[in-house]
Symmetry: C2
Subunit: 333 residues, 2 copies
């Protein structure tokens, strides 16, 4: 199953392979010769080998993305943003899903490096940081998403969310809807989760409300949702704030299955907007995921040497799941 090579085309057109290369990549070539070459390309159905090309360039035209969990609405939108600017820049995107399987991350990043990707976008845990540092040091622009890195070396950029502000937004909305004791669901001690929880704490504190360690529970995957919610409900909160966007479905289902009604018994707010949120009346704090993806890809394409960091502001999308907001924060449910 031998493929047509540039040499075969050259032979068919009666020119040298250098000439074929020139007509394909735009060098100075006689129009008549060029026409002959193009005819041969068509006739032989020649498809240039991008792999070989990349050997010369030193790298491919592909942008690598190592992602946590494609199912999360946030990552989906992020991907679309990345894909858009990749496409606009003649790049393809190569993609690997870690499914939060630690250890897989490092291997996948390594694979991307072996593929000589034009740039790397990672949404993974800090565990893979040294591999990323190494890649950046090797000259590949890297972008860490959803997390800032301290003291980044050249070519290591980040695109993040102001998580404190996100938590604060949640708290303010909850308070303005008259909620006074909120339970928090987090997916673990990652920076984003910690930041949002801290924001929540501060926002609540400003209203004279305290958030104690007991008010915060950790979900362990979707399967842990029932347990987490049951634990939280024992403290009889009047609202639940979920700072782990990817667990929204499971937490919401658990809430309902425990027999509470939203927003009458309990208010509910979560992270990341999603298509069905509006049908369900679920209030959320949204990240500009699409924009963040675009920005990340732009960092790759522009490839600045100096490390860049951009922090986006979250926005509140108030619907009905926390009750009605009032200016003075009085209860209105």
């Amino acid at each position: 199953m031998k493929r047509t090579t540039i040499g075969a085309v050259a032979a068919a057109a009666g020119v040298s392979s250098a000439t074929v290369s020139r007509v394909l990549n735009g060098g100075p070539v006689n129009e008549a010769t060029a026409a002959r070459v193009r005819e041969a390309v068509d006739r032989l159905q020649y498809t240039p080998n991008a792999l070989t090309k990349s050997i010369f360039a030193g790298r491919s035209q592909t942008i690598g993305v190592v992602i946590d969990d494609l199912r999360s609405p946030f990552y989906l939108d992020l991907m679309r943003g990345i894909d858009e600017v990749a496409d606009a820049n003649g790049s393809l995107v190569m993609f690997a899903n870690t499914f939060r399987h630690d250890g897989r991350e490092a291997m996948q990043i390594q694979s991307m490096d072996e593929q000589r990707v034009r740039g790397l976008i990672v949404t993974s845990a800090a565990s893979a940081d040294d591999r990323t540092y190494r890649m950046a040091a090797g000259g590949t622009p890297c972008v860490v998403v959803a997390r800032t890195v301290q003291d980044p070396p050249p070519r290591l950029h980040s695109v993040a969310l102001d998580n404190i502000a996100a938590g604060r937004l949640m708290a303010e909305h909850l308070v303005s809807c008259g909620r006074r004791s909120v339970g928090v669901i987090t997916s673990g001690p990652r920076p984003s989760q910690l930041g949002r929880t801290e924001g929540l704490r501060r926002g609540l504190a400003e209203a004279g409300l305290a958030l104690t360690a007991d008010d915060i529970v950790t979900v362990d995957g979707d399967d842990g949702a029932e347990d987490a919610v049951a634990t939280l409900l024992q403290r009889r909160p009047d609202a639940v704030a979920c700072v782990a966007g990817r667990r929204t479905v499971a937490i919401h289902a658990a809430l309902l299955s425990q027999g509470v009604t939203i927003p009458d018994d309990i208010g509910f707010i979560t992270m990341d907007d999603f298509a069905w949120a509006s049908a369900l009346g679920i209030s959320v704090v949204a990240q500009p995921a699409h924009l963040m993806g675009q920005r990340a890809a732009e960092f790759v394409v522009e490839n600045p040497a100096q490390p860049r960091t951009v922090v986006f502001e979250p926005t509140l999308v108030a619907r009905t799941s926390c009750g009605e907001a009032t200016d003075d924060g009085a209860a209105s449910r």
Copy 2:
């Protein structure tokens, strides 16, 4: 920004590059020499160039996926299935999103071919068929998803759904819930849509119910949902069947915004299961998307010469959006 090459490692270890290659890829090497080489690899942080490797193999280890629209729950699950078997086979997946932008498809397939992907999985329109045929003819295993191809050449496989059965399932459920006049929403004259509509027609016919051309309207993107639903509602159907899974959100929203209540005024059933369907009580006919993705990737990995076709059976996931089902099909709402 020169990268470490195999030659540099060889020099550092005082051996030839052939020996380095052997320790990396498992050839017969003296353990002492091997140790020295590995030390040099670590010290120099050598990352082999997968691109160059692929030149020899004639192709890369990457599986290409050209997808319609990542946002659709079906494609998301499909991707996860593909990714799983790719990962298990040491392959990465390279991905391009056409967003149904005709013409982009052909270009993206061409790009995949230039990347010498190990195999191609396409979910695209028939418009790109000749490019796919050509790739298959060139020796690259290709899998068309969600559509069967007639008279496939060697290495052109397909993974599809029994669309007629899907439509029939919808019809049967609707009928058993006592619905007698159903309106259908489709996204256009693609084989899958046509098949499901035909299945619906047959299923309804068996219950003595007719489906006329006026009962079928086409949505033009999410923005067309309001119009499509308004048109359909003028005929006062007692149920709406949406055979375009990707439009579920928009159609559902349009239904509500026109003031109908589900299932009291109108029954609603759609294609493809999704995480929130259960919270919303929406009945669906589901495709085994995850399995289909796995199967598609397996065809690529196994690379049989003979064209293979596998047609999956859809399943009904009955919830509450059509009312309660009864055995005799009497109304029960």
